[in-house]
Symmetry: C2
Subunit: 137 residues, 2 copies
């Protein structure tokens, strides 16, 4: 079998990469990976991704130091997505939270307008581990 | 704030949707969602996705009966990905496994060629809950 880089963004062929805490199973982040990012991840055991906005491969934590050491990798049925079970140093999110998924949507509210989510529809569910302004200037 | 349907596949604007077991935190599947799929999910509390291959919205479990009842939704920092914590009926994967991520890649093997993964590089880590041939004919 082979990985199926079927997602095409700006001519770059990608799979989805999900980082999950290897101890707690908390989902830390999701991003895209091109072939080079998967290869670098396997080679170094540090999670690499592909930024569709910057159009380049990146090592997670290259500027923050918040590296992800990859312990296990799982491939999905269509081979177009990976889970990396990782040991996360510090916070995964550039906003300073452990996980990028730090906002919960209150799905029991009536008439949620997904084009205009109100503050009262959203709850921040975790604490900041660092101040992004101090980390990234 | 609003969801950021920034991923464009064939002219359809999408976010990433991850389904995670609300009790065990096992990741069950990942797929894409267009705006209609998110709205239908919020309205019905059953996970809906958008199929980029069939170019249509679909209700997860519409043919198998293996519906996902959505208990909680989390939004990531860039608002371009969602986690749905779900109660999964039966198996999430059309291959008959509880999770689509039923294959583990042995990352400690030397010289893994991601274009040609060998059987000995991959381990099936879970049991089939149904036979896809019987389920889908």
């Amino acid at each position: 079998m082979e990985l199926n880089f079927r997602l095409d963004v700006g001519g770059e062929k990608l799979v989805i990469g999900i980082a999950q805490d290897y101890e707690t199973n908390e989902i830390l982040m999701v991003a895209f990976m091109n072939k080079e990012a998967v290869e670098q991840t396997l080679k170094t055991k540090k999670a690499h991704y592909y930024s569709t906005s910057r159009q380049k491969q990146w090592l997670k934590g290259e500027s923050s130091g918040n590296l992800q050491t990859v312990k296990e990798i799982y491939i999905d049925c269509d081979a177009d997505a990976l889970i990396m079970k990782v040991e996360q140093i510090g916070a995964a999110c550039h906003e300073g939270y452990r996980s990028c998924f730090f906002r919960q949507l209150d799905i029991n509210k009536e008439n949620i307008d997904i084009d205009n989510l109100r503050d009262k529809d959203i709850k921040i569910i975790s604490e900041r581990l660092f101040d992004p302004k101090e980390m990234y200037g």
